[in-house]
C-alpha cells in the first residue's frame, strides 16, 4: 500500500511546529537520525557516496515491483546525526513511492514549511539536494 505523501508531509510539519526553538527542532532531527536503520557496511562504498555533503553520506535506491507496479525503496546513512535526520525525512516522503509520485512531490515546498530551507547551512543544503537529485534520477529511469 502506497502511503499518501501529503499526509506524511503534513505530519512532519505538525511535529516540527510543536517546537519553537531550532535547538528543539534539531532535537527532532537527531531523534529521527538515531532511529534511522543502518546501511550495511558493505554498501558504504564510493559508488554509493552522495557528493556535496560535508559529512559522509551513502545512499542506495532499489526499484521494487509488485503486482505490476514499480515502487522505489531507498536507504541512506551518514556519519552525522542531523544529516541522518534529514535522510529520515526524505525516506518518509520518498521511500516506497512510485516513480511518478517521487518526481511530482514538491520537496522544496516541504523544506520551506519545515523551515529547513532557512536553517540549513549551504553545505548541508548541497548534500540534501544531492540526495534528492539521486532519488529523482533513479525514479526517472523507472517510469
Amino acid at each position: 500500500m502506497i502511503e499518501n505523501q501529503q499526509e506524511i508531509a503534513d505530519d512532519l510539519v505538525d511535529t516540527f511546529e510543536m517546537f519553537d526553538s531550532w535547538e528543539d527542532r534539531y532535537g527532532v532531527l537527531i531523534d529521527f537520525g538515531k532511529k534511522l536503520p543502518p546501511l550495511d557496511e558493505s554498501d558504504k562504498i564510493e559508488e554509493n557516496r552522495v557528493h556535496g555533503c560535508q559529512s559522509q553520506v551513502w545512499m542506495i535506491a532499489r526499484p521494487h515491483e509488485e503486482n505490476g507496479q514499480t515502487t522505489i525503496d531507498f536507504i541512506a546513512e551518514s556519519d552525522a546525526l542531523i544529516v541522518k535526520g534529514l535522510i529520515a525525512i526524505l525516506r518518509k516522503v520518498y521511500s516506497g513511492q512510485t516513480p511518478q509520485n517521487i518526481l511530482a512531490f514538491d520537496i522544496a515546498g516541504l523544506l520551506q514549511r519545515l523551515g529547513l530551507d532557512q536553517h540549513l547551512t549551504s553545505g548541508r543544503r548541497n548534500g540534501l539536494d544531492g540526495m534528492v537529485r539521486k532519488i529523482k534520477t533513479l525514479a526517472a529511469q523507472h517510469i
Partner: protein
C-alpha cells in the same frame, strides 16, 4: 587600559542577535570581525578619496596615492620590516605564498631539491609547493609532529642535513591546533644550511607582535581579514635582496618602468609585484585595522587571549568526553576538540542554534587530520573582543550538544 566591553562597543556585528540569541562569535581563526573605525575608513575612502593611484595629476588621485603608500608604512611598522619596499600587497596569505612559490620557487628550485613543510600546514602552504614540485622536479619532505601537535625539532634538524633542502615553509601558529611554532630557531637552523624560509603568519599577526627582522624570516605572509581588516587584502614581507632577484609573478600596469614590443623593464620594489590596480580601499582598511589593534596593543591582545584560552581550557574539563586536539605547551587562542561519537558538524549546528559560531571540519589541513587519525574537529577560536561570559555560553552549549548527540 584593556576594557573588553569598551572594545566590543566598536564592533557593530557583535551586537547582533542570531537564532534569537546574542551572537557569540568564536570563529576568529577563520576571520575576524571589523570595528567601526575600519568601516569608517572604507566609507571615507569611497566618499572622499576614491581615485586610481599613481601617475594621475589630480587632487583625488594624489590623496588616494598618499593614503595607499602610508598604509604600506603601517604594515612595515607592524612587522618591523627594514624597508617599506619589502612589503608587497597581496589578496591575502594564499596569494602571498603563491607569489613566492611561483616566483622564487620556479626560479630557484630544480630536480633533487627538497622543500620542508610541517605536518600542520594549511593547504595554502602545501598546494602551491606541490604545483612548483610538479614543474621543477623538487620534492616535499614533511617535518613531523608529536601527538600534542608540536614540531619534532630533532627530526627537523635531521631533515636539514640531507644537503638538498632549499626551502622551508612553516606556519607561525597552526590554524587547526593553535600550536605556536619555534620559528625563530627553525629559521636559524635553516640558514645554517643555506635554505630560505617562508613563515605563514595568517594566525600569528592578529594575535602577537611579530618582528620579521628579529626572526630573520626570508618571507612572511599574512591576511588582513584576520586582523580586523577587509577581506581580499593581505601582505607579503620579503627580504629586499630576495625580492629584487625574483622575477615578477604577474604582468600588467604599475609593475613596469617601460614597455616596448621588444623589451619591458620592470618597476622597482614593491611595484614589481603589484600588477594592475590594487585593492586600494582594502589597503586603506588594512591600515585602519592595524592602527586600531596597535592602539589597543598587541601585547594586551595576546595577554587577554591567553587568559581566555586558559579559562576555556579549564572550563571544558567539566564537559564529559571532551577531548582537546592540540596540546602544545606554547599555544595561541585556538581550542580544537572532538567528542567521540558526536560528529563535529552536529556539534557546530547545535551550537549555532544557541548563537555560538564555531568552525567544524578539516580546517584546510587534511594531511594534519590524517596524521592525528581524525577526519574533522570542532574549533573555537578566541579574539581580543571575546569574554569569559562567552566562553561560559560556549561550554554550556557544548554540554547540551553532547547530551543531545550521545
Amino acid at each position: 587600559m584593556f576594557d573588553v566591553q569598551k572594545i566590543r562597543a566598536d564592533f557593530p556585528i557583535l551586537q547582533l542577535q542570531v537564532r534569537d540569541k546574542p551572537l557569540v562569535y568564536l570563529d576568529n581563526a577563520a576571520t575576524s570581525q571589523k570595528p567601526q573605525q575600519v568601516l569608517d575608513a572604507l566609507n571615507h575612502y569611497y566618499t572622499a578619496q576614491n581615485a586610481n593611484i599613481h601617475r594621475a595629476v589630480h587632487y583625488l588621485s594624489e590623496t588616494a596615492t598618499r593614503a595607499y603608500s602610508e598604509s604600506r608604512e603601517s604594515v612595515r611598522a607592524l612587522l618591523n620590516a627594514a624597508h617599506e619596499s619589502e612589503i608587497i600587497f597581496t589578496r591575502g596569505t594564499t596569494e602571498a605564498i603563491n607569489l613566492v612559490a611561483h616566483s622564487w620557487g620556479l626560479q630557484n628550485l630544480k630536480a633533487g631539491d627538497e622543500i620542508l613543510l610541517s605536518a600542520m600546514e594549511h593547504h595554502s602552504n602545501i598546494v602551491p609547493w606541490q604545483i612548483v614540485c610538479e614543474k621543477t622536479g623538487a620534492q616535499i619532505r614533511v617535518i613531523p609532529i608529536n601527538d600534542a601537535g608540536e614540531i619534532l625539532f630533532d627530526e627537523y634538524e635531521n631533515l636539514l642535513q640531507s644537503g638538498h633542502v632549499k626551502f622551508i615553509g612553516v606556519c607561525h601558529i597552526s590554524n587547526a591546533l593553535g600550536t605556536v611554532n619555534p620559528v625563530k630557531e627553525m629559521i636559524a637552523k635553516a640558514h645554517e644550511v643555506g635554505a630560505k624560509v617562508l613563515i605563514d603568519g595568517a594566525q600569528s599577526v592578529p594575535h602577537a607582535k611579530v618582528d620579521v627582522q628579529d626572526l630573520d624570516a626570508d618571507f612572511y605572509a599574512f591576511s588582513g581579514h584576520k586582523i580586523c581588516a577587509p577581506t581580499g587584502i593581505g601582505a607579503l614581507y620579503g627580504k629586499a635582496e630576495l625580492l629584487n632577484a625574483m622575477p615578477p609573478y604577474q604582468g600588467g600596469g604599475d609593475m613596469i618602468s617601460s614597455v616596448t614590443w621588444e623589451k619591458t623593464e620592470y618597476n622597482v620594489l614593491p611595484h614589481k609585484f603589484e600588477a594592475g590596480t590594487p585593492d586600494i580601499a582594502g589597503v586603506i582598511g588594512l591600515a585602519a585595522a592595524i592602527d586600531y589593534v596597535t592602539k589597543i596593543g598587541l601585547e594586551n591582545i595576546a595577554a587577554h587571549e591567553a587568559q581566555l584560552l586558559d579559562y576555556a581550557t579549564k572550563e571544558v574539563q567539566s564537559i564529559e568526553d571532551f577531548q582537546i586536539v592540540g596540546r602544545a605547551k606554547n599555544k595561541a587562542s585556538i581550542l580544537s576538540f572532538v567528542i567521540p561519537g558526536a560528529h563535529p558538524q552536529d556539534i557546530g549546528a547545535l551550537l549555532d542554534a544557541r548563537g555560538v559560531a564555531i568552525r567544524t571540519g578539516h580546517h584546510c589541513t587534511q594531511p594534519l587530520m590524517k596524521r592525528l587519525g581524525l577526519s574533522a574537529t570542532a574549533r573555537a577560536s578566541f579574539a581580543f573582543y571575546n569574554t569569559e561570559d562567552e566562553v561560559d555560553v560556549f561550554v554550556e552549549a557544548t554540554k547540551n550538544a553532547r547530551k543531545m548527540l550521545l
